[in-house]
């Protein structure tokens, strides 16, 4: 009997130890590291200042004086600077009549630069890539852009490729989610993500105001990111993924319809952005944070929040003031999708962020415009170029997109980062003294209500 008792206890102890070892082993391989990333900086001949935007608006015969005024007002007040980039078709005067090949060329230029850069910076060969995920929302040719990249870079025959499309401005986080989950069952893999947006074939040539906004705000840009779950590459990695939360508000009709690709009465296709967009973004944001907050905030902040809430409730409406969670207790840096000045302001207000916190997003919007899903990587690049990212700090990224989707993630900085990347030539000029559009003197009259 004694023999059996000892046997059972020993076996139980060993089983528990092995179980723990196994779990730890799995956790080890579940770590998703960002090795490096490279953003796209188009050639300077494609810079799109306000005066050229004015000429482009003028070219559209369907637009009258009122529309001209409306569009200039958007552009001048958008927070977008004079050095953002537009597609080739605009500079040839062919934005309304671009061809299929033009759209392919736009993508070719973007991925050839970004992928070559990220591979050479990290010493990785194209044949080392095990998984490739491409997300470009508004252009999905056949064969897919992912196949196009495999062909151009001569990747392996057994590579797993996924081409996501239609998933909006938060799609790069969806790509990371896909890879993170794949990493949980496949060990020692290297993944490449390419994220961009196609401007060329999606130019709106009609006169519906809700559909003209996209023309004003979206600019050319893209990013290639290398991720791995190989523990041997841990020291090379820049960031380690800690959390990723996805929120899908598609079940809410208002949210679903707020960013909708459609045809106007004259048959022109464009992105219709409704007035409910800020509301949908706010809803997605709150829902997303509700899930994220308990994971990132220290216990002290959570306790403080709950206690403050209880105190306010006990005091009733005389409690006064507003009680919101202080995210800065658990997060050091905030990367916000540069969807527009309103998005940045809205998020900044909700999270009670300072101008310093919002600077990367604002400067990205100013220097590169709204580059859709890749904008968060430009903002991250800004922080890195400004030498803000130190080992152990936590970086929060949030993106919003059509659907309506609100996706966020939290990274831990793996080592002190100092690459200047795409901001190399201009980081010293940022932040500029003023973000005001220099053409305000010329176009400032449009803000007068009398005209």
């Amino acid at each position: 009997m004694e023999f059996l008792l000892i046997l059972s206890i020993t076996l139980l102890t060993y089983s528990v130890i092995i179980f723990i070892i196994n779990k730890l082993n799995k956790m080890r391989h579940q770590n998703c590291y960002l090795l490096d990333y490279a953003c796209f900086k188009p050639s300077d001949e494609f810079k799109l200042p306000t005066n050229i935007c004015g000429e482009v608006i003028h070219r559209n015969r369907l637009l009258g004086f009122d529309e001209y005024k409306f569009l200039l007002k958007i552009i001048v007040n958008s927070g977008i600077g004079e050095e953002t980039y537009g597609p080739r078709s605009i500079f040839r005067g062919e934005e309304a009549t671009s061809t299929f090949d033009d759209a392919l060329l736009e993508m070719d230029e973007c991925f050839e630069h970004t992928i070559s850069d990220v591979l050479s910076n990290s010493g990785v060969k194209p044949t080392d890539i095990d998984i490739l995920v491409v997300n470009v929302s508004m252009f999905a040719p056949e064969p897919s852009l992912a196949s196009r990249i495999v062909n151009k870079f001569k990747m392996r025959e057994d590579i797993k490729i996924y081409n996501l499309s239609g998933m909006g401005c938060s799609a790069s986080l969806i790509s990371i989610d896909l890879i993170r989950r794949t990493f949980m069952s496949q060990f020692n893999k290297l993944a490449l993500i390419f994220t961009s947006e196609s401007i060329t074939p999606n130019w709106y040539s009609g006169n519906n105001r809700s559909m003209m906004l996209a023309n004003c705000l979206f600019r050319c840009g893209g990013c290639a990111m290398l991720l791995t779950n190989d523990p041997k590459r841990k020291n090379q990695a820049k960031l380690k993924l800690k959390h990723l939360i996805r929120t899908d508000l598609g079940a809410n009709d208002e949210a679903f319809n707020c960013a909708y690709e459609t045809e106007d009465e004259l048959g022109h296709t464009g992105m219709c952005l409704s007035k409910d967009l800020p509301k949908a973004a706010a809803l997605a944001f709150v829902q997303n944070l509700k899930t994220l907050a308990p994971k990132v905030l220290p216990v002290t902040e959570l306790v403080r929040f709950v206690m403050a809430g209880l105190y306010r409730r006990s005091k009733g409406s005389r409690g006064g003031g507003s009680n919101s969670v202080n995210f800065k207790a658990g997060i050091d840096h905030f990367v916000i999708h540069s969807g527009g000045a309103a998005v940045i302001d809205g998020v900044g207000k909700s999270l009670r962020l300072s101008e310093w916190d919002l600077e990367p997003a604002r400067m990205t919007l100013h220097r590169f415009g709204n580059t859709s899903a890749s904008s968060i990587w430009y903002a991250l690049g800004y922080m890195e170029a400004k030498k803000r990212l130190k080992k152990g700090q936590r970086v929060f990224m949030i993106g919003f997109g059509a659907g309506f989707l609100g996706n966020s993630c939290v990274w831990i900085v793996n080592r002190d980062l100092k690459d200047e990347g795409v901001w190399k030539e201009c980081i010293d000029q940022y932040p500029p003294k003023t973000l005001e559009n220099p053409f305000m003197k010329m176009y400032g009259w449009i803000n007068d209500q009398d005209i």
Binding site: A140, P143, A146, N151, N163, G250
Partner: protein, 452 residues
Amino acid sequence: MFSSKLQSIHNSFQLSQLQIFFILLIIILAGIIYFMCRPRPVYLLDYACFKPPATLRVTFSTFMEHASQVDFFDEKSVKFMMRILERSGLGEETCVPPPNHCIPPNPNMESSRSEARTVIFSAIDELFSKSSSIQPKHIDILIVNCSLFSPTPSLSAMIVNKYNLRSNVRTFNLSGMGCSAGVISIDLARELLQAHSNSIALVISTEIITPNYYAGTERAMLLPNCLFRVGAAAVLLSNHRRDSSLAKYRLMHLVRTNKGTDDKAYRCVYEEEDSKGNVGIALSKDLMAIAGATLKSNITTIGPLVLPASEQLLFLLALARRKLINPKSKPYIPDFKQAFEHFCIHAGGRAVIDELEKKLQLSSGHVEASRMTLHRFGNTSSSSLWYELSYIEAKGRMKRGDRVWMIGFGSGFKCNSMVWKSMRTVKTPVSGPWSDCIHRYPVHIPEVVKLY
């Protein structure tokens, strides 16, 4: 008696108690490690295919009449399409969406979305009516693949909106991935189901025909007009171990092969603009050869996983003979009929099915499901494999333990295949797209159907 026998065995081995501990320990540890490292099973609970209404039927005569009435096709193009149709293997009951019934076809974004809603929602509604225990709120993962129509918000967002899926559902919308994208979606679902236990995934495979009618005169780009037809499939997957008794199939293997590095293979199914600015998909003359080569690569990987040892040995011996003794001796083609009971070959066209029947040395019975699907439904792209599976079930041929090999080909150039094992015998009659016509099948499909 038993304990005394144990005692005598114990004495004969002269093992100390400590040694017994360790031996038992090792056995138990091995057991634990084995159970912990097992990949999660992927069960196919059920699936449903869209059955187009008869009002959307396009007969050969209708197709030709419409083609000759529109001004963007010249006489040569019309004659060419007629020849394609005559030899296509399609029947008179395939369907095109409403805008393509107009003269000329008048596609737009809203009508494309309307086709998407009709085909996808019908398939999903039927799927949920068959799986009574699963409801939309149980869906954890949603994957949609549609190659040639990718609006914003995506088709996956459209499904979330219609069925009020949860806000933490993980959606993925694949596009541009060709006719083998159905297998890619299942692969993605499998990866995601490995990451999380007790999850349900809904996979939708479809192709939206409306926006893709080619209105030009390039011959290589006219083929899709003749072959592509409406279709959609909805598949419910689960990794709950308890679902093994409810499930219809279990996923055994999935192999993806990508020949994209070879320029010829990459360009053999290529979307581009013709000289007049019309966008269409050009199919190259090398398509069959490339499909054959890509299939060969896929077989090289999947063969060792599925073939019995005898076939693998024969293959290796033949290979050795070729390399060492006589390079001119014929290569040995493994007998895949020993590994699988049923074959679902993508109904891409008659030539694809003929080629595979020859290459894999299959009988006409093995490719019947593919041929009949092509005849009744046309080339429905990524969903065709599910129509073929439905045919096999409707014919009462699916028995418990049967293995099915599904092979998809598509742009890239990709050959993706998957192996399912049947968990139960499927009893007829089967409700599905074949329910009203299975009794008429198989039909004889002549080489050429003369159209005048």
